[in-house]
C-alpha cells in the first residue's frame, strides 16, 4: 500500500461521489476524505472541539462546518475560524489511476503549537471541558507539568488581581491543594486534581496598571512599619505599593512573608483565621514556583489579605480578642523555641480545654501546654488529631459540622506552616488563633475524650483489595452508618493505609463534591504521614471517609423534619444525638 514516499492508498475515486465524505483508517487514526468542488481533501475526522466525526459535517465554499456545535474549518489548511487553538489537521492527497492516496505519516499535529492558545482559552473561559482537554493534551504530548503549571500561576495572578478581594485566597487554596494531591497520585489519575486546580486559576483577566514602586530608596524597616500601619488602617493599596517597593529593593520572600504573618496575627484578626491558611498558601506558592513568578500574586493578594476590612467584633468575639490581647505579653514570653519535645506535655488536658466550650479555659489550656515546655508542633499534632477524632465521631445528623471540623484541622495545619515559613513566634500566635476555632465550634455534640487508639474489630475480609473495595462501595452507596466501622477494621487488620488513602482520594475527586473536600483531603494526606507515631492517627482516615460519604447525600429535608419532630418533643440538641 505504501508507495515509499509516505502516500498510502485509502480509497478509489469511485468510492467518493461529489460533495460526499467518507472516513478511512490510516496509521490508527480516523481520517475524513471529502470530494468538494472537484477536489479531494483529507482531514482528521475528529472535530478538534469535542470530537464529533467531521464526515457528518457540511461543506460549503471550502469551509467545513461540524454538525454538533458549528465549529468551522478551512478545508485547505485546516484553520479554525473561531480561534487559533482548534485548528484541524489536514493531509496531502494525491490521485493516481483512479485511486486516492494520502500522506499521514510524518504529519505533525497542529496541536503542538496550539497548546498554550488552548490553555489560555480554557483559563479565560473557565470551561471545564476545554480545561481538561488542554491539560490532557499537554500532558500526553510531553509538555512538562512545570511549564503548564507556571502558566496557570501567571493567569491566576492576573485573575485574582482584577476580579477578587481577599477571598481570592480560597482560589489559591484550591489551586495548591489540587496540585499537592495530583503529585501524590499516579500519572493516570492526575487529571482530575489538575483540572480542579486549573479551574481555581481560571476566570477573566482584567487589564490592570501594574503598581509602581515608591520613588527613591526606602529601607525595609520603614516599609515594614508602614505595612503594619496600613494593615491596621485597612489600606490594602498602600500595602501593595510597599510590598512592590520592597521587592524591587531586593527584599527576600521570607522577609515579606514574615511581615504578612505579623500583620494577620494581630488579635484584631482573630476571627479571620482563614488569613492564616491564605498566607501559608502564599508562602507555599513562592516555595513551589519561585519568587519571580509568584511575586505579583504575593504583593497583590498578600496586601488584600493583610489590609482587609473587618467589622466591629461583637459578643464573645470581642471577649476573645480582648483576652488574646491581654495574653500577648505572656505569649511573648512563651515564644522561645524549646530545643526538644517536652516529656511533661499533657495532651489530655489540652484536649479537654479545647473541647471545654469555655473561652478562658480554651486559651488557658494552650498557655499551660506551652508552659509545660511543649514545642508548638506537639500542640499542633494534638489539635489535628483532635479534629480527626471529632470528624470520626460527630453524629452524622442534621448538622454534623463537617466543614467546621475540617476548618479547625486545616487551621491547625496552617499554624504549622507559620512555623515553616514565618517564625516560631508566628506559630505560637497562630496556635492561639487556631484554638479559638475549637471554642467557636463548641456547639458540636462530641464529647471530649483522650486521644488514644480507637481499635476496631479486624476486617471480615481476608485480603485487603476486597476490604478496600467494600469501603469504596460504602462511600459510593452513601452508607454513613457503616463506613466508619469498615474503615476502622481495615486499618485494625494492618492493611495498607497508603493504598486506602489513594483509593479514598480517587473516590472523592471523581464526585462533584470533590472540590469542597480538597482541603481536607490534602490535610489528611499530609498529617497522616507526619503524625505516624500518634495513637489516634487512624481517626484521620475514618473521619475523611465519613465526611466524604455524608456530603454525597442530599437529604436535608428529611433530616430537618426528623430533627424538628424531636425538637417538638422538647429534646435539646444534645439529647437528640
Amino acid at each position: 500500500m505504501n508507495n515509499g514516499d509516505g502516500f498510502v492508498k485509502v480509497a478509489k475515486v469511485a468510492d467518493l461521489t461529489p460533495e460526499k465524505a467518507i472516513a478511512v483508517r490510516v496509521e490508527n487514526r480516523s481520517v475524513a476524505l471529502f470530494n468538494h468542488e472537484g477536489r479531494f481533501y483529507a482531514t482528521d475526522n475528529q472535530c478538534p472541539h469535542m470530537g464529533y466525526p467531521l464526515i457528518r459535517g457540511r461543506v460549503r465554499k471550502g469551509v467545513l462546518q461540524c454538525d454538533w456545535h458549528g465549529w468551522s474549518y478551512a478545508m485547505d489548511g485546516g484553520g479554525c475560524f473561531t480561534g487559533g487553538c482548534d485548528d484541524l489537521d489536514t493531509f496531502p492527497v494525491r490521485v493516481q489511476d483512479g485511486e486516492i492516496y494520502i500522506k499521514v505519516e510524518g504529519a505533525t499535529s497542529k496541536r503542538t503549537d496550539s497548546h498554550y492558545l488552548l490553555l489560555k482559552e480554557a483559563l479565560l473561559s473557565r470551561d471545564n471541558w476545554i480545561l481538561s482537554k488542554a491539560i490532557a493534551i499537554m500532558l500526553s504530548q510531553g509538555v512538562s507539568e512545570e511549564e503548564t503549571l507556571n502558566r496557570l500561576v501567571e493567569h491566576m495572578s492576573k485573575h485574582l488581581a482584577s476580579d477578587h478581594d481577599a477571598n481570592g485566597g480560597f482560589r489559591l487554596n484550591q489551586f495548591l491543594n489540587g496540585i499537592a494531591i495530583s503529585r501524590r497520585l499516579d500519572q493516570d489519575d492526575r487529571l482530575i486534581p489538575l483540572m480542579i486546580a486549573g479551574t481555581a486559576a481560571s476566570g477573566r483577566a482584567g487589564d490592570r496598571v501594574p503598581p509602581e514602586p515608591l520613588p527613591g530608596s526606602v529601607d525595609f524597616d520603614r516599609i515594614a512599619s508602614w505595612v503594619r500601619m496600613f494593615s491596621q488602617d485597612r489600606n490594602w493599596e498602600g500595602i501593595e505599593k510597599c510590598l512592590v517597593t520592597a521587592r524591587q529593593a531586593g527584599a527576600d520572600s521570607r522577609a515579606i512573608i514574615s511581615l504578612l504573618y505579623d500583620c494577620i496575627l494581630e488579635p484584631n484578626f482573630l476571627m479571620f483565621g482563614q488569613n492564616l491558611v491564605h498566607i501559608g498558601n502564599i508562602a507555599e506558592l513562592v516555595e513551589t514556583f519561585g519568587f519571580d513568578l509568584a511575586a505579583p500574586l504575593v504583593c497583590n493578594l498578600g496586601a488584600k489579605i493583610a489590609g482587609r476590612g473587618r467589622g466591629t467584633p461583637q459578643g464573645t468575639t470581642r471577649d476573645s480578642i480582648e483576652y488574646v490581647t491581654e495574653l500577648r505579653r505572656k505569649i511573648q514570653e512563651l515564644s522561645d523555641e524549646p530545643s526538644s519535645h517536652s516529656e511533661q506535655y499533657d495532651e489530655s488536658s489540652l484536649v479537654e480545654g479545647l473541647a471545654s466550650g469555655d473561652l478562658r479555659q480554651t486559651f488557658d489550656s494552650v498557655t499551660h501546654a506551652f508552659e509545660s515546655g511543649a514545642h508548638v508542633s506537639q500542640i499542633l499534632d494534638s489539635m489535628i488529631m483532635l479534629s480527626g477524632d471529632r470528624m470520626a465521631r460527630t453524629p452524622a445528623s442534621f448538622s454534623p459540622g463537617w466543614f467546621n471540623i475540617s476548618n479547625e484541622m486545616q487551621m491547625a495545619a496552617a499554624a504549622r506552616r507559620a512555623l515553616k515559613y514565618g517564625s516560631y513566634r508566628n506559630a505560637v500566635d497562630a496556635t492561639y488563633f487556631t484554638s479559638w476555632h475549637y471554642f467557636e465550634n463548641r456547639w458540636l455534640n462530641i464529647r471530649a475524650r483522650p486521644l488514644s487508639r480507637d481499635v476496631g474489630r479486624p476486617s471480615k475480609h481476608s485480603d485487603e483489595t476486597t476490604a478496600r473495595g467494600e469501603i469504596v462501595d460504602l462511600i459510593e452507596s452513601i452508607q454513613v452508618g457503616e463506613i466508619a466501622q469498615a474503615t476502622r477494621s481495615y486499618l485494625a487488620s494492618g492493611f495498607d493505609a497508603g493504598a486506602l488513602m489513594s483509593e479514598l482520594a480517587m473516590v472523592i475527586l471523581k464526585h462533584d463534591s470533590g472540590s469542597n473536600l480538597l482541603g481536607t483531603l490534602r490535610t489528611v494526606y499530609d498529617e497522616f504521614e507526619r503524625c505516624s507515631a500518634h495513637p489516634a492517627r487512624n481517626q484521620l482516615l475514618v473521619g475523611l471517609a465519613r465526611f466524604a460519604t455524608d456530603v454525597r447525600r442530599s437529604n436535608d429535608n428529611d433530616l430537618a423534619t426528623r430533627t424538628a419532630r424531636r425538637f417538638a418533643a422538647r429534646e435539646t440538641a444534645v439529647d437528640m444525638f
Binding site: F81, G83, L124, D207, V218, R222, M229, N235, G238
Partner: protein
C-alpha cells in the same frame, strides 16, 4: 532647570507634626512640615484634587491629605494610592536658624507617569483622573499621537472585551472628539479630547490570542469567506480572517473589503454600520494600524457580521430593488445634476422611485461627491426646518447628515463602488424618516431673506449665543440665517457654537454632528462646486446645527408632550399640530 535656595520659615515655630505654607517665587505654595525632629517640604497642592496638604496629618512619616485621604511618603513624596500621582518634594536645609527650601518653578516632565494615570483613569472610568492627566499632558506639550496611541490600544481591548457592534458609537466619540479638539486650544480642546478619551473608558480584559490561519494563504479565498460570513451573519468567524490578511501583508485591502460587505443591499437600514466604518477607516488612515488593529478587526467583524432580522415590507422592497440595479460611478465632465428632481424623489414616500432617482443621477455621469453634497445639504435643510415638537426627529435627521457625509469617506477608503452603494443606503435613511413633517423645498431656491439679529457682527453673534443659552429654538434659526446673509463670518460663529456645544452635557451627543458641520462647511468654502461651494442651501448647515444644539439642551419633553397631547385631544393630526 535652575533651582535656588529660598528662605522658608524660622526654626522653632512648628511643633511636631505641624506645617506651614510658604509662597515661592512664581506664586506656588510649598508646605513645610516638622516631623520627628526634621523638616520636610512638599508642594502644597494635593496631586489628587488640589487640597492644601499643609492641612493634612502625619503618622509614622506618612502624610495623609484631609480631603480624600490620599497618603504620601513625606520624605520621597511617593503616593500609596492608585489614580493619584506622587507629590513633589523639595530638598530642605537648616541654616542661620531658618529652614531653606531648594525650589525650582520648572515642574519636572512626568510624561510616563501621566500616561499611566490616564490609563488608570480609563480602566476605572474616572472622569477626573482622565481630565487631569490629559490637562497635564497637553499643558506640557506631549505629542497628541502618544496620547491617542494609549487611548486607542485601551479602546480596542475594552470594546473587544465588553461590547458588540454598538461599540461603534464609542469610536464615533473618539474620532470626532479628537477631530473637533484640533480646532480648539486650551480648555475647549481639553473638553473635546476628554470626551474622546472617556469614550474609550471602561474595564478591559485579556482575550484569546488571535493567530493567523495556517497556510495556504490566498487573499481571494479570505475575501470570499468574509463576504460569505457577513451574508450569513457569522461575524465571529471574520476576525481571524482579517487578522490573517493583515499578517500576510494585505492590510490595505481590509477596509475596502469591510466596505464591500457593509454596503451590500441586505444592510439597507443599518445606517450606523456605514457611519462607524467611516470612523474606523479614518482612525486607521490618521493614526496607523499599529494601535488600532484589534479595534478594527474586532469591531469591523462585528459590524459586517451582525445579525439581521427578516426585513419587513419596505426594507424588503428596498433590498430587492437595490439588488436589481447595477450600481457604479461613471463620472462625466459635463454632467449636470437635476437636484430638484433628486430631492423630490428622496423625500417622496416611494423607496423604488427614490432609488431610481439616485441611480439615474449616477448614470447621468454625476460624481458621487456631487450627489453626496445634495444629500448633505438636504439633511441640513431638514434640520433647519424640522418643527420642534414632541419628537423633532433629531436622531434621524443627524443620522441622515452624518451618513451623507460618510458617503465621501466610503468613496475615499472603500472605492467608488462602495461610495455609489452608500448613496442608496443614505437614500433609504431619508425614506425611512418620512414621518418627520418637513414639506418639500427646492434646495436650489434662495433662502428667504432674514435680518441679522444686530447691526454689527459681534453683537449679532452674542445674541445668537444668548438664544442658544436660553434655549430659544425657534428664534435661533432665523438669527443665524440673518447673520450669515449679512455676510458675517460663518467660521467664527461655528467656532463659538462648537464651544457652547462642548461645554454642555449634551455635547457628547452633538459631537458627531458638530464635526460633520465643521467639515461640510469647509467643503462649502472650498471653491469646489461638487462639494457644495456657493450652494444656496449651505447656510442651513449652521442654522440646523444651532437649532439642534439649542433644542437638545432644553429637555422639555414633559411640556412638549403636554402640548402635543392637548392638540391631539383636539383631534389634530401630527401634521396639523405644527402648522
Amino acid at each position: 532647570m535652575s533651582s535656588d535656595w529660598v528662605k522658608g520659615i524660622d526654626c522653632g515655630t512648628l511643633q511636631n507634626g505641624e506645617a506651614q505654607t510658604v509662597e515661592m517665587p512664581g506664586g506656588r505654595t510649598v508646605a513645610v512640615f516638622y516631623w520627628d525632629g526634621k523638616y520636610f517640604a512638599t508642594d502644597n497642592q494635593c496631586p489628587h484634587m488640589g487640597f492644601p496638604l499643609a492641612r493634612g496629618t502625619i503618622k509614622n512619616g506618612v502624610l495623609t491629605c484631609d480631603w480624600h485621604g490620599r497618603a504620601f511618603d513625606l520624605e520621597t513624596g511617593g503616593c500609596f494610592h492608585s489614580q493619584c500621582d506622587n507629590v513633589r518634594v523639595f530638598p530642605v536645609k537648616v541654616e542661620d536658624d531658618s529652614v531653606w527650601i531648594q525650589y525650582s518653578s520648572d515642574r519636572p516632565q512626568r510624561t510616563q507617569a501621566q500616561l499611566r494615570l490616564l490609563w488608570e483613569g480609563l480602566l476605572g472610568d474616572d472622569r477626573w483622573t482622565i481630565s487631569k492627566a490629559l490637562a497635564i499632558l497637553l499643558e506640557q506639550g506631549t505629542d497628541e499621537q502618544e496620547v491617542v496611541d494609549l487611548i486607542l490600544t485601551h479602546m480596542g481591548r475594552h470594546i473587544a472585551s465588553s461590547h458588540g457592534p454598538e461599540g461603534g458609537e464609542d469610536v464615533s466619540r473618539l474620532v470626532n472628539g479628537i477631530h473637533v479638539g484640533r480646532r480648539y486650544s486650551g480648555e475647549d480642546r481639553l473638553i473635546s479630547i476628554t470626551t474622546a478619551a472617556r469614550s474609550a473608558a471602561g474595564e478591559a480584559h485579556e482575550r484569546n490570542d488571535i493567530v493567523p490561519m495556517p497556510p495556504p494563504y490566498d487573499w481571494d479565498q479570505i475575501a470570499t469567506w468574509v463576504k460569505e460570513f457577513s451574508r450569513d451573519r457569522q461575524g465571529h468567524r471574520i476576525e481571524r480572517c482579517l487578522f490573517t490578511a493583515h499578517s500576510q501583508g494585505d492590510t490595505d485591502k481590509i477596509i475596502p473589503l469591510l466596505y464591500d460587505c457593509a454596503t451590500q443591499p441586505y444592510f439597507v437600514g443599518f445606517s450606523q454600520n456605514l457611519i462607524s466604518l467611516a470612523y474606523l477607516a479614518e482612525l486607521v488612515s490618521v493614526f496607523g494600524w499599529e494601535n488600532s488593529s484589534e479595534l478594527v478587526f474586532w469591531l469591523g467583524a462585528n459590524l459586517v457580521g451582525q445579525g439581521r432580522s427578516e426585513p419587513e415590507r419596505f426594507r424588503r422592497d428596498a433590498i430587492s430593488h437595490m439588488s436589481a440595479l447595477s450600481i457604479a460611478e461613471s463620472e462625466k465632465p459635463n454632467a449636470r445634476l437635476d437636484e430638484s428632481a433628486l430631492v423630490q424623489a428622496l423625500v417622496g414616500v416611494d423607496v423604488v422611485a427614490s432609488f431610481d432617482a439616485v441611480h439615474e443621477a449616477l448614470n447621468e455621469g454625476n460624481g458621487i461627491d456631487r450627489i453626496a453634497t445634495t444629500m448633505v445639504l438636504l439633511a441640513a435643510d431638514r434640520m433647519a426646518r424640522s418643527p420642534v415638537a414632541v419628537d423633532a426627529g433629531w436622531e434621524n435627521l443627524t443620522t441622515e447628515l452624518n451618513l451623507a457625509s460618510a458617503i465621501r469617506t466610503a468613496r475615499e477608503h472603500g472605492g467608488s463602488d462602495a461610495g455609489a452603494c452608500a448613496l442608496f443606503h443614505t437614500a433609504y435613511q431619508v425614506f425611512s424618516d418620512r414621518w418627520i413633517n418637513i414639506p418639500y423645498r427646492d434646495l436650489g431656491e434662495p433662502l428667504a431673506s432674514m435680518d441679522p439679529p444686530a447691526e454689527d457682527e459681534d453683537s449679532a453673534m452674542a445674541l445668537i449665543m444668548k438664544s442658544i443659552n436660553t434655549l430659544d429654538v425657534e428664534g435661533v434659526g432665523p438669527q443665524v440665517q440673518g447673520y450669515l446673509q449679512a455676510g458675517f463670518d460663518g467660521n467664527r460663529l461655528l467656532d463659538e457654537l462648537g464651544r457652547a456645544i462642548l461645554g454642555d452635557d449634551s455635547g457628547q451627543i452633538v459631537l458627531p454632528t458638530l464635526r460633520t458641520v465643521f467639515e461640510e462647511w469647509d467643503n462649502c468654502n472650498s471653491g469646489q462646486v461638487e462639494l457644495g461651494a456657493d450652494h444656496p442651501a449651505r447656510f442651513q448647515l449652521i442654522v440646523g446645527l444651532a437649532r439642534y444644539a439649542a433644542d437638545l439642551r432644553s429637555n422639555t419633553d414633559d411640556s412638549s408632550a403636554a402640548f402635543a397631547a392637548t392638540r391631539f385631544a383636539e383631534g389634530k393630526t401630527t401634521v396639523e399640530m405644527f402648522e
